[in-house]
Structure formats: C-alpha cells, structure tokens
C-alpha cells in the first residue's frame, strides 16, 4: 500500500516536469580521444583499423623495396548491419600512406571523369595557353589496387550486447593478378545496459 502511494505521488510530480526542454551543450574534444558513446562503429574503431593496416603495409615487401609503387583504392565493402561510410577508413589509410612517402596513389578510380574533362578543356577549348596545357597519354598506370571488406556479428542477450567487427584489406598486383599482401583487424566491443539511469 505504501509503495502504491509513493509511486502515485512520485509519478504525479515527475509528470508535471516531464517534457521540459533543455539545450544540448557543445564542446571541442581531441579527435584521438577514445570514443565510447555507443557500441556502434565509431571514430576510435576507424583509427585503430587504419593504424593497423598502415603499419602492416609499410613493413610489407611491396613498400619496403623503395620503388614507390602506384596504388589505387578499389572499394571496401560494408557487410555490417550499420550504415558505415567505409571510404572514411580508406581515406585515412591513403593519407597516412602518402605521408610516409613510400607509395603514390592514382586518382583515376575516383575522379577520372573530371581528369578527362579537364584534359579536353586544356587541349581542345582554345582557352588555355598551349604551352601550359597538359597533353593526353601521360597518366601513370597503377601497379596495385586495394580492396577489402568490413564485416560484423552482433549478439544481444539480456542486458549485454556484443559486437565483433572484422576489417580485411588486400593488395592486388595488377600485372600478375596475385594478392601480394593482406591483413585483417578484429575489434570486439561489449555494452551492458545499466541497472540504474536517468
């Protein structure tokens, strides 16, 4: 009986204040700060994966030979149950690899239409000074391309949710068709619904 009374009283008071609006607070944080807002794929996962892939590639025979081969990124397929922009992972890998100076990247797979349009403009429009116009036939052919996939397994039992991510990246020699390098990174995350909360 007492419980019922308390429940009624608490509910009545809380109802009156329920729905009061509050504005979100905004602050800046470090991009490297570990992010654990939710169990979903986040910035820390992206950084962990990119770091592992870059370190592994840099020590591979393909890059340690000093030949500065030309790469392009084919695609990383998202096979998880979340809408993840996998390009942000490959972008991070590409930027770090480029900064190492050990590899060059061809932009053909991403912006070839724009390159062709620009070449046509420079060579055929008559607007560009011919002495500075770039001629066709000078593109550098890629030696290798990267492709991979991100997969996940998600399980939920009671208050616990478990997610396992696996990122796999392969490097293919265009000339031979061989996979010259491959690596993978696994990440496991668990979340537990709190017993008490707001």
């Amino acid at each position: 009986m007492k419980k019922v009374v308390t429940l009624c009283a608490v509910a009545a008071v809380l109802f009156l204040f329920w729905g009061c609006a509050s504005t979100p607070s905004v602050s800046y944080g470090s991009p490297e700060q570990v992010e654990t807002v939710t169990i979903d794929f986040g910035s820390t996962d992206l950084q962990i994966i990119a770091e592992k892939m870059v370190n592994s590639l840099l020590t591979s025979p393909v890059l340690s030979s000093g030949m500065r081969p030309v790469f392009y990124v084919h695609r990383v397929q998202n096979r998880t149950d979340e809408h993840i922009d996998t390009q942000s992972i490959t972008n991070r890998i590409r930027v770090t690899l480029l900064q190492s100076g050990k590899v060059r990247f061809s932009a053909v797979s991403e912006v070839n239409d724009e390159i062709i349009r620009q070449l046509e403009y420079q060579t055929s429009s008559g607007i560009v000074d011919p002495s500075t116009a770039k001629s066709v036939g000078n593109q550098v052919g890629a030696d290798y391309f990267l492709y991979g996939e991100l997969t996940s397994i998600r399980k939920r039992a009671g208050r616990v949710e478990d997610v396992y991510f696996k990122f796999t990246l392969n490097l293919v020699n265009i000339s031979s068709g061989l996979i010259e390098w491959a690596d993978e990174k696994e990440i496991r995350k668990q979340a537990k619904r709190p017993l008490l909360g707001s």
Binding site: K2, C8, A11, A12, W18, R154
Partner: protein
Amino acid sequence: MGRIDAKSPLCLYIMTRKIILAFIWCTLFLAGCASLESYTRRAYQAQSSLAAGNYADALAVFPESSARGKDEILIRMERAVILQAMGEFRESAEEFIQSSRRIRELEDRAVISAAKSTEQAGTLILSERVSTYEGQDFEKVLIHALNAVNFLLLGDLEGARVEIRNAYRRQDELAKTHARELEQARKELRGVNWQKSLEDTDSQRFDALKRTSQTVQSVYQNAFAYYISALVYELNREQDAAYIDLKKAIAAAPQSRSIQKDLVRLSRALNFRDDSRLWEERFGNIEEPFLEGTDVFVIVAFGVAPVKEALSFPFPLRSGGLAFVSLPVYRFIPTPIQAVRVSYDGRSVETSVLNDTDAIAARNLMDKFPILFAKQVVRSYLKAQATRGLSREYGPLGAFAGTLASAVTEQADLRTWSSLPKEIHVARLIVPHGVGSIELDSAPYGSSQSIEIPQGTKHLIVWSRMTDWGMTIHTQAY
C-alpha cells in the same frame, strides 16, 4: 521521537490524502496534456489524402517539426512511408534510420530508469496513451524491410544489405523478448479470462480480429522482409544467403508462386539436387523459371493500414466493485484493389501478398492482449483504491468524482502507423531480352501503366504505390 504506526488512523489518513492528491494531479495533467491530442484524427486526415493519392497533403499532416516528444518514432515512420510513396527515397531512408535509432535508444535505457519508471507509473495510473510510442514489434521489423526497398531504389546495394541484416536480427530478438513478456503476463493473469471479457463486450469485432490474426503464422516471420532479404543477397551475389531466406519466406507465404520459382531456380543453381527435387515435387510444374532475360522484381503497395478503436467495458475487480476498461481493437479499411497483374507480350503474372498489414497487426495485438490486460488489472486496482479514498473523504460525491475520473482517464492507446499500406504484393518474373516494357494493372478497376525496361538491364526493381486514383511507379535498373 516515536514512530507512527503504519496502521494507525493518522497514517491511513495521510496515505489516503496522498493517493487522492496524486490522482487529482494526474487527472489534471491528463486533461491539459497536449500529447493526448487525438492521433486518430491526424491519422484519418493522412489516410484520406493517401487514398486520394495526395501525398503532399498526407505529409503535411506530419511535418518534420512535429517529430518530437512521445510520438516522435510514430511520426517519423509515417513520414518515411509517405516520402517513399512520393519517390523521395533518400529522405524516407533518413526518417526510417532516425526512427530505428530512437527505438534502440529507448530499448537501451537503464533497466530502472527515472524516465521509464515515470512513464510506466503513468501507464499504470492513467492509461497506455501517456507512454512514449516505441513501435509495435511488427513495425520494428517493417522499418528495416521497407528501408531496404529505399536503398534498392537508390541503387545502393550495400545500404539495402545493412537493412535486411537488421530486419533479420530484429525478428529474432523481438520474438525472444515477446516470449518473456507473455510468460510474465500469463502469470499475472492466472484465473482472469480476458478473452471472454472482450467477446462478451463486442463478439463481432473481437471475432473479426481473431479471424484476421489467424491468417499469419507469426509476427516474427515476415514473408516480405525475408523475400526482400533474399533479393538483396542475390543482387550482392550471395546466393547461399539468399537461398536460406527464400526457405524462410516460403514458410511464411507458401502460396507465393514467385518464391516457389526462386527456390527451384536457386536450388538448381547451387547444385542442391535433393532440395530442387523436393521443391519441384511440392510445387508441381514451375513454368519457365530458367528463361534468359531481365529479372523483374515488382513490389506493389496499396490500401491503408487498419485503424484502432477503443473497446470499453466494465470489468469486475477481485476486491469487489467494477473498473472501467478500455482496450484497442482494429477496424480494417477495405480497398477496391483485389489483385495486381504484371504482363508482357500477352503473358501475365499475378502478384501475391507478402505483407498483409491487417493480419500482422491483428496478430500482433492478439499476442499483446494478455500484456495489456495484465497492466489494465493493476491500473483498475489503483484507480479503485483512489476512488475509495475519495469516497471516504468526501462521501457519495467523492465516490462519484472518483468513478468519473476513472472512466475519463481510462483511454485506450489508439496510436497506430496509419500510412502503412494495407497490403504489399510481390511478383518476380524473367522478361525475355528484346521485350522493351511491361504493363502493371490493378483489378477490378483496371488502372494500368507501362514500365520501360532499359536495354541491357539484368535486374529491374519496380516499386509502385497504388491508390484509389491511380499509381506511382519508380524503378531502378541493375
């Protein structure tokens, strides 16, 4: 200082006063609460506009700015379906993603959360209507299946794959959660014949609900979700995964000729000889399943979802006296469309129903009745206590006020996803190379439209929402 005896007259007096105070506060709150504005009125407006093919008017009933508070999830789902009918697939996908994210946030709240406890107390004292709309189980599955269609029509197979994986996972999770809730409710309702109470009140409506609900096997095995899933896997060149979902789809919709044909075709392609022999024996002569040509997958949605109405009746309490009970039941809205035909070159294929919203919603409600009724019994007890308190305090006038407040606050939760189509049909056919178009027509009114097949198309996804006034068609070639 001495302690006051809990059974002392003073303590009982204070407790009674507290109950009365809480009850009056709640009633006042209920009377002035904006969130209790009739959702059914808005739903009716939207359904009328949808039936007339005025999608912009239907969308205007649920502006983005109204997707806040307790009805946020519901409004986002309404917007998503209307935007999908309009062909605004990107915006529709965003609304579906937002609603599923919000549902997950609510589900992930702490086991004992202040907000959730307040709501639960509110539903126990007042009615289900004061709670945040978290989506019905079948809606939580359909969100993903329908969003997979959005991504398919955007040409984004990866996005569609994400959604079908979620649809699959949700069916599994929700079935388990529901089983636990049902077990708990059955324990609480031991000895209470809730079915008889509903039958005695309105046997016609209850029988219609029961009959309709029996046409689907389970809320947690949605044939449409499985078939879309199989399609997405196949387009992603994952035939093994597609075959698994086809087997689930046929269990949920055994009459679908398209699924039957696909099972024979895929079991042969995967070299599952025993399986293909079994399917052929079971389905009989499968006409031209292996013809070379364009694979055309037609999804047709028509009609509007059922609406909820309150079924109110007095219910005798174990402790004596009567309580007012108000539970939702569905009213089904008929559609003039009986069937949809896809034809080319003098041949035609009839679509088959894979999502019968009437039946799924009815089944979902029948499954939830014990849970709703168990809550109702507790609520009735609390209200009876408050009425007794008022009676003791103010005599017959107090008793009258208490009974009146009890009846007024007892409102069934009539919120429902109103813009959902009544039925979603699917047909899959292989159109020979060289045939440039197919015809889609509805019977018996003969509304018809031609759909062009772009040259070199391997797979063509066709999405159509039909209304009383015609049809809108969107396609995506792969």
